[in-house]
Structure formats: structure tokens, C-alpha cells
Subunit: 340 residues, 2 copies
């Protein structure tokens, strides 16, 4: 899922997202609650109408953003008090409010309000945290919005037994899908892989399983192997705006002097709009001149690169050839993106 | 002519400019000389290929930018010494170099290197300045590039006789078109109108006459009445990025609180992509969130507004009904844009 934090995938129009083949977009409850306000979006017809995107939208619950963006966060039994990163105003998010916001936005898939357990966390902290998430999950389910799918979020820190406990408590409630939260929060990669590989198979195989906030393609291969179906990540879009481009030949920093007079396409093997039309020389000039078109063309390319990877991976899964795809791609990714 | 300073009309792609009906784009010799360098653009196939724009391009000569952007400018008999506004490096532009640059860029229409006479200027300064421009004009003509039209630029400050002298000296040399320079540089509007109305009829009627850097639509009506055929201005694009939008109902600042929940289009009478698709509420949210899409959608609208005005004006001229168009539009523009 490309990330459209403020009701736009940064630099892109919804039409372009459709042309790129995006099938679902993630948008942020936390950001839209603070600005322009969910009441605003509800009044003008909901998020789809607001951003003119007629495909599915998943809204996260704000749990991760409260954890990562808000200063002066206070976790209480019935919610989280925090200050807005925009204007410092004081807010209190509860499970019920998070469901009200997501209902007003009218997303197709809502996420439960969770506490994203930090890393490192003591076993005691992780246990208390997962209990809080379970409690809030129940409240979200109770407050559930008609016609909107609701996914649970498994927490439990880096403790296998707590991950299992969280998964079981959530499955008891019977959500439409299940996500793994609280990963890629600073832990070593091996520990993250261990948690993914241990937890994913515990979740229902006939429902979507979603690994939140992860987009590194080697991690994606590991997670798909474990049974994960859904991902979201700002990696392609954020890197694009910083001039870092993913190509079949590896990561390219477009500002490098060597591209100054390079008439060739960014990636000769790529079929995207940017690669079909523009030279590395132009892309470098746009970036150096801080032109808006730079962000547009770079974002278009990176999103195409990621979505093409996922398309090919899905096809391999459908053909029953995922393991072969994984082996081949692991070699390529390790060779091309070893620094990442 | 929409302005594409750095080889891109800010926020737009060349495809979008074509869809908007742009028939020619202006690009800046001064900027492209400093970055990425005309040698770079020449090596990758010229400006059209570089920015993937197959319509005509006019390049200005840098005379105005040296005057308006460069610190530590020293005007000498054979050129202008100045420091780059980007990195402070020292440069010396001459008539010959300006022609070499424009030749390398491969624009369809080049402009002579001129000294843009400041306002106010004494008669003596303005006379010396126009003599310099005439001298450089001769050098530019001599250095002329094959297959590239070259326009002279009439200077002469705010002195009728000097404007006449400049026009006559340039016409003697027989350029492909003639521009009025050194206007809208701080003088009262009446004085600018006087110079336009006096000078334009002196220039050949069977060649393009171009009023440089002017885009206010009331000024445009005055100038077309005097016989001007061509304009360029950053007004639609720069205002768009600042959230100021031109509509059939007047100037709108999209950040205003009143638009927060406004589900209607920016301009109900407008057929542009932005107005066909998005609400004022969304446009306000994009602007307040400093999203790139804000600049895109706003620019698209403002360019459509200006180009639609010019299309209707051209049609009126063709029908022999310009004076009626002028009267009607003057009433509308004065009512809607009185503060400008």
C-alpha cells in the first residue's frame, strides 16, 4: 500500500496512482484527525470523494503516530493524551474516538487503536501494553462501523509467548484481518524476522495478514514466506523526494555529478513514465534545482519499481513458484541494495 | 507564454502543458547557463529533448535576470560581470556568449542581450543604456544561430524620443520580431501605458511584437489594443504556488477558513482538471498541509484561467471584435480583480 498520509500520496494525483496500478492506499487517521479534521472530510463526502480515489483505502488507527510523532505523550487506561505535532494543541485519543474518526473518513479497512510497544521493553511493560491493546481492541470491535472491515493488531514486544497471547486474544474476537504491529521499531533484524516467522503462522490463513510499516524488499520476501499478505511503507515515496531511486541496477542517488550529462534513462529496464521520457541528466537538473517536477518524476519511478516487484511476486505466488522467486530476488536485492 | 525558468513550468509536466493548450513556453537563458549549463543541455540534445516539450520555446537573453537577480553586477562596454545568485561564482555575459548559450539550448526564438534600463533613470543614463543595447543587438545579429529566430528588445526608459530611437535603430537591423523591454520595473502604470501605446505602433505590424514580463490582464488588454501579440508572465504560476487563484468570481486565497468545509469547486464556471475534480475543501487542505499536489492543482487552474482568457481574446481579434471583448472584460476584471 502506497502511503497517502494527508489524503494524497505525496507528489501524486489519484489518477496517477490508478495508472501506476495501485490497488489500495493507506491514509493516516492521526494526521487527518488533526488536519483538516474528520468532521471536515465527513461533511464533504468522505475520504474517497475528498481525494477522488475510488479504490480501497485502509486507515491506520493513529497508534503508531501517537508513538512516533507526538511530544508529551501520556498513555492512560482509556486512551492516550498527546500534543499535536502541528500546533501543540492537547488531544485525547480513545478506542471509541479512533473508530468514530475512521467511520467519518469512511475507509474500507479500519485498524484497531493499539499501543505500539517500544523497543527495548521489559517483559512486564510488553505484557501490560498488550493487555491494553487487547482491551482497546474489544472497544473498537464494539464501536465498529457498518460496512467497514476492522483489523486487529498483534503486539507483545519481542517476546514469543506474549505475541502468542496477543494473537490468541485478538482471534477470540474474530477480526476481518490481523496485523503485526510494534516491529521495525529499532530491534535487530534477526529479532524482527523471528517475531514475524513465529507470529504470522499463528494467525488465520483465510484472512488477510498485514505487516505494518515495513517495505524493505528483503524483509518483504521473508514476511511473504511466513504468510504475510499486506504491507505499507513510505520507503519508495520518501526516498524519491530525497533523490534516492530504486532501479534494476541498484540504488541511485540522482544528484551525483556523473549523471550531469547522462542522456540515458534512469533505469533502462523500466517501463515507467519517468524512464520512458526523461534522461538522468534532466532528472539530476530537476533535483538540483529543487523543482517540484523532480519529486513527481522520482516518486512515479520508485512507486512503479515497488509495485512492479509486488506484481511479479503475486504472480509467482499464484503459480506456486514463490520460493524460486524469493531465491532469485534475494540474490538480486543483496547485490543491488546491499547497503540497505 | 507560461514561464519555465529551469526547463520546467514549475509543478507541471510538459504533457500537462500540452493538455492545457500551451503553444509556446518561455525558458531562461540566465538560469540554464548557471545550472545545469548550456553545454549540458546541448550534449543531451537541446532544450526540447531535455524537457520533452515538442512545441516552440522562446529563451530570454538573461538581460533582465542579470538586472533583477544578480548581486554585484558591473555593466561594461562589452558585457555584464555578475555573481551567480546560486553559488556566488563570477561570470561575464557578452552578446556573443548569450547567442552561444541560446544556440546550445536550441530555442525557436532567441532574444538579443540588452541592458534593462532601471526606473527611475536620467535621460543621459537611458540614452547610454539604449546605445549599449543597440550595440549588443548588432553583435547578437552577427552571431545569429541558424534556424533560430531573433527578436530585438526596445529600451529607452520612460523617454518617448529614446524609445523611438531604440525602435528605429533595431528596425534598421531587421529582426524577426520586436519586444518592449524595461517596462513594469517600478514606474507608475500610466507611464507604462504611455510607453506601450507610443512605442508599439512604431514597430513593424507584420512581425510579432512582444511585451516582456507583463501578465496583469488589464495591462494585457491595453497592450493588445496597442498592437502587442506576445506576453510572458509568472503571475499565474507563482500566485498558484502561494495559494492565490484566479477565478471567474475574482481572486481567491485558498487558505481562507471559509473554504474549510466547502464542497464546491474552486470556480463553478471553470472546466479545468482541478475544478472538474476537487472541492475547495480539498484544495484548502492540500495547501495548509503544504502538499506538492496543492501546487500542481493550483498551477493547473491558474494556467487554464489565463490561457482561456487568451484563447477568447484571440478569437475576438479574429472575429474583429476585440474592442467589444476589451470593454466587457475590463468591466469584469475591474470588478473581480480591483485590488490588483
Amino acid at each position: 500500500m502506497p502511503v497517502g498520509t494527508n489524503a494524497t500520496v505525496k507528489a501524486m494525483s489519484s489518477d496517477e496512482m490508478k495508472e501506476l496500478g495501485a490497488e489500495i492506499i493507506l491514509s493516516n487517521t492521526y494526521h487527518l484527525y488533526l488536519r483538516p479534521g474528520h468532521d471536515v472530510i465527513k461533511e464533504v463526502g468522505g475520504l474517497h470523494e475528498f481525494m477522488k480515489w475510488d479504490g480501497p483505502v485502509l486507515t491506520d488507527s493513529g497508534g503508531f503516530q501517537v508513538f512516533s510523532l507526538s511530544p508529551l505523550r501520556k498513555i492512560k487506561d482509556d486512551g492516550v493524551e498527546f500534543r499535536s505535532h502541528i500546533d501543540g494543541s492537547l488531544h485525547f485519543l480513545t478506542a471509541e474516538l479512533v473508530m468514530e474518526i475512521q467511520g467519518a473518513l469512511g475507509s474500507d479497512i479500519a485498524m484497531i487503536f493499539d499501543e505500539c510497544t517500544p523497543y527495548p521493553a521489559t517483559r512486564e511493560y510488553a505484557l501490560d501494553s498488550l493487555k491494553l491493546t487487547t482491551k482497546w481492541a474489544g472497544k473498537c470491535l464494539k464501536a465498529g462501523n457498518k460496512g467497514q472491515a476492522l483489523f486487529g493488531i498483534v503486539q507483545g514486544g519481542m517476546y514469543r509467548d506474549l505475541r502468542k497471547q496477543s494473537a490468541e486474544e485478538l482471534m477470540e474476537m474474530d477480526f476481518n484481518g490481523y496485523a503485526l504491529g510494534g516491529l521495525s521499531v529499532g530491534e535487530p533484524k534477526e529479532l524482527m524476522y523471528e517475531m514475524i516467522n513465529y507470529t504470522t503462522p499463528l494467525l488465520p490463513h483465510n484472512k488477510p495478514r498485514y505487516l505494518m510499516g515495513i517495505g524493505d524488499l528483503l524483509d518483504v520476501l521473508e514476511a511473504v514466506s511466513a504468510g504475510i499478505d499486506m504491507f505499507d511503507c513510505v520507503m519508495p515515496t520518501r526516498n524519491a523526494r530525497n533523490g534516492t531511486l530504486f532501479t534494476s541496477q541498484g540504488r541511485i542517488s540522482i544528484k551525483r555529478e556523473e549523471f550531469k550529462k547522462d542522456p540515458g534513462p534512469l533505469d533502462p529496464d523500466c517501463e515507467c513514465y519517468t524512464c520512458r521520457n526523461f534522461s538522468r541528466s534532466y532528472l539530476r537538473h530537476m533535483f538540483m534545482s529543487r523543482e517540484i517536477l523532480s519529486m513527481r518524476l522520482n516518486t512515479m519511478h520508485n512507486l512503479h519499481f515497488f509495485m512492479d516487484f509486488f506484481r511479479r511476486m503475486r504472480a509467482a505466488v499464484s503459480r506456486g513458484e514463490f520460493e524460486q522467486f524469493r531465491k532469485e530476488q534475494t540474490v538480486i536485492l543483496k547485490r543491488n541494495f546491499k547497503e540497505g
